[in-house]
Symmetry: C2
Subunit: 516 residues, 2 copies
């Protein structure tokens, strides 16, 4: 989930200077419109230790007109607060309509600390998170805009920051609670954070994950994200309709600030022809054996393929299906929905094909169409695709919790490679059926698709259902990577005890997902 | 919560005959409109054992055009189902747009049984209920209408039904799982049911609690409720706006079918003058002592008064406040909100006055204004007051969980008594300020208010925050009952261990709500 906050984005001093002024002007202007609109805005500032949450809050107070902004820290509970129900302190911090409250940590602070310190179980944490979801929904239904920032640092960056802090700001350093813990248990903290963000990242109150290692990038991104969020909310209020959110906030302008996860893929990776042949043969044998093992152990598998047009999904799928016994798998090509499918919820047609115990379903395109083609082409409304992230996460959670082995592949190729393949398809008679007007049209929307893919991966790459990004310019390399990932995951998942113990047990129900 | 399902409503054979025909005609007509509208309808049928769920489903199938209706029981899990994620079976049962699925138990069946049999904890149950809330919300956002029926019987009626069943329908009797358990542990079952209903009773998918002891009343009520729910949903779809739901379904016409909880209050109850004086004095002394005990034990109290205009709220409150040390309480008269209050969520102004540890707040009118005056006068939209029930339940839950002692009074008087008091107020100079045009206007809306009160009590009288209904025609009787209820509750709550152990501990946090 946090991969996208570790790509190393930064903004140069000059760029920062140039953009800051414009941003401040726009923020002040929108604050004025906000006052008129009577929409209350709640900004929640959370993140890993030493990410600079305090600095960001100072920056926002510098940029905004302080007459409409109040900042609240929940560092120490007062007597007054301790003697009342827990949420009393947050109700005190609520902005009046048309104004802004900035909440340091807010209602996420205690759950994070408590889970991190082991004062509560995951189940207790989930209970609290559900109360939070209800609480936020109630405020939003009342007209509020909630903007939730999570600031993140890589482990190395955090270490460096803490060191810097211990040298430069001794007084604050002394105040830091459990500072050794935070840096020593980076992975644990990240795990807790992922659970919290995943559970509370709803369409109506999404989290914005901000890469915090470069201060200039961090601050500009916060300012622009806030501006965009308020602007969308105002447009929604005046149209009575969702704003055109197709394009997300104009991120800071330096090229180094615009890098994405997809940009980081090394598309030059390739595999020599003979190596490919050997690997493929070996992997195909292995995958067939694993499929039979899964069948005997009654574990089901879902293999899902998404990717750029002409990215090589079909080829990769064919290499797998030709290897596996036909009784064990079904390949589901996902095209436009049938009439019957249209008469149901969009997830219905994917639920239909969930494999029974011991079987494999391969989806050639999937439920992610909701946040890809349907988003970009406007088939789904803004609200629909925004809430789809959490709907999809919950759907996949159900699969995994019931013992399904789930793998999600994104096959990526460069724009040049796509052009080459399109032209190739047009010139080869038996490939011509594979290319349509739609493909050329989609190609023109490349930047929109790219943005949709980046957001999709950031919001749905979870611990239990991570995306595997495939460098696809070289077909041989891509196919082998796909198959190797499948083989590694299957053999790991099928190891040991045939009955998976990690499986979620709903309400005390003991499901036997694996057999003898 | 189930009081309103035990008032003994019934419908005579003649009335049933007369109404059934009309109802069937209307159901068939609306089913046709439904088809056009492409709204999928999911009917969930749950309730206590022997309430006749099967009979109701047969009746619906008899009344509706079966070409648009499918019925699903989840009695035995098939192999196909067992080998897939739990919800696969429910996805299979989803109606296409424009059609109806009737689900026997549906997704509530397993959680109820598992909790009742002790296979899971309350926390695990809550986790499952949250998944259900998300699931239902997702379907509703996709356009579905979910109608949830809960059929209830008193303990005696259930016993009689089970006996009847063992005599008349031996084959089904043998099939009943745990039949002894259901009747022997009536109270436990009710407790589990309340938790489930309370947690999943949302504005967008409310539960309809149906008194099931009289079969004719039960079936007609189901039919009319269903008709009303579909009609409202269709109106909403065509207006793009909430339907006029001010008046709830036309319940079956026999007078015996129209009895409500409020009708059952015996307003003739009274207290002789000298008895009143003695009681009052004794109770006032007691309440003052208890207030000091609560102060020493650091337990807070919220006393909330709602009632019919001229129902005697002011008088009752004055008898309490004159008895208690002024340092220990605050009385909050709730009138039209101030500008500052209007600039916040409607609950904000009540949160403000939540007492600190050891103190008492008396609310003269309250947050229930949302589902009373705001509902009846149209100040709150349909969606707003409908979702307010669960918002209020959650708010009160927070109070109680943090150790607040909460008492809610409804002071009820007859229409005749109100008229007498209004006239009296007009004729006595120092009382004249108490009567306004508004009061007379509200009086004309008596039936609407009565309906709102009945629904309010049914949806918000919970185990942890029950309503106390006060028979108010005799002021002496009413005041003494109010004060006795307070004294009994306070002395019970303040007994023993100063630190309440029942208090909810959020996410492992140990709150000390009581002191030494």
């Amino acid at each position: 989930m946090f991969e996208a906050t570790k790509v190393g984005r930064s903004v140069s001093k000059e760029d920062y200077k140039a953009q800051q002024e414009e941003l401040r002007t726009q923020l002040l202007a929108i604050q004025h419109d906000l006052k008129e609109s009577r929409i209350p805005v709640i900004i929640l500032v959370s993140g890993v230790e030493a990410a600079g949450k305090g600095e960001v809050i100072n920056r926002l107070n510098e940029w905004l007109d302080t007459r409409g902004v109040q900042t609240f820290a929940f560092w120490n509970e007062s007597d007054e607060e301790r003697e009342r129900p827990r949420y009393w302190r947050f109700w005190r911090a609520m902005p009046p309509r048309g104004e802004i409250s900035i909440l340091f940590g807010g209602w996420y602070q205690t759950p994070i600390e408590h889970r991190f310190n082991g004062y509560c179980t995951d189940a207790e944490l989930d209970g609290e998170l559900n109360r939070i979801v209800d609480f936020e929904r109630m405020l939003i239904q009342d007209g509020a805009l909630i903007v939730k920032f999570w600031f993140h640092l890589s482990e190395a960056d955090q270490k460096a920051r803490l060191k810097e802090l211990s040298r430069d700001d001794k007084s604050r350093w002394k105040m830091l609670p459990d500072k050794s813990k935070f840096s020593e248990h980076y992975a644990t903290f990240e795990q807790v954070a992922e659970r919290i963000i995943l559970h509370t990242d709803r369409g109506v109150s999404p989290w914005y994950l901000i890469e915090a290692s470069d201060r200039r990038y961090r601050d500009l991104t916060v300012g622009k994200t806030l501006l965009h969020a308020i602007r969308s909310r105002l447009a929604e209020a005046s149209n009575g309709d969702a704003a055109n959110n197709l394009v997300s906030p104009d991120l800071p302008g330096s090229p180094s600030a615009q890098i994405t996860l997809l940009d980081q893929l090394d598309l030059s990776l390739s595999l020599p022809r003979d190596q490919y042949k050997t690997d493929l043969k070996r992997l195909q044998t292995e995958i067939n054996e694993l499929a039979w093992t899964a069948y005997n152990k009654k574990r089901s598998t879902v293999l899902m393929f998404e990717g750029v047009d002409a990215g090589g999904k079909g080829g990769a799928i064919r290499r797998i299906t030709t290897a596996i016994d036909a009784r064990l798998y079904r390949a589901i090509p996902v095209a436009a929905p049938t009439d019957e499918e249209k008469a149901h919820h969009y997830l219905w047609r994917f639920w239909r094909h969930i494999p029974r115990a011991g079987h494999i379903t391969l989806y050639d395109r999937s439920w992610y169409g909701r946040v890809l083609v349907e988003r970009v082409e406007g088939y789904a409304s803004d609200a629909e695709w925004r809430r789809a992230y959490s709907e999809i996460n919950r759907f996949e959670e159900q699969l995994v919790d019931s013992g399904v082995i789930l793998l999600k592949f994104w096959l990526h190729i460069s724009q040049d490679e796509q052009l080459k393949r399109f032209k190739d398809r047009e010139s080869v008679p038996y490939k011509r059926y594979k290319i349509t007007e739609d493909d050329w049209r989609n190609r023109e929307k490349w930047p929109y698709y790219k943005e949709a893919v980046n957001e999709m991966v950031a919001r749905t790459s979870t611990r239990h259902a991570a995306w595997t990004l495939i460098e696809g310019d070289d077909k041989a390399y891509a196919r082998v990577k796909v198959m190797r990932t499948i083989c590694d995951t299957l053999s790991e998942s099928l190891k040991g005890d045939p009955i998976p113990t990690a499986g979620y047990v709903p309400c005390g129900e003991k499901r036997i997902v694996g057999g003898g």
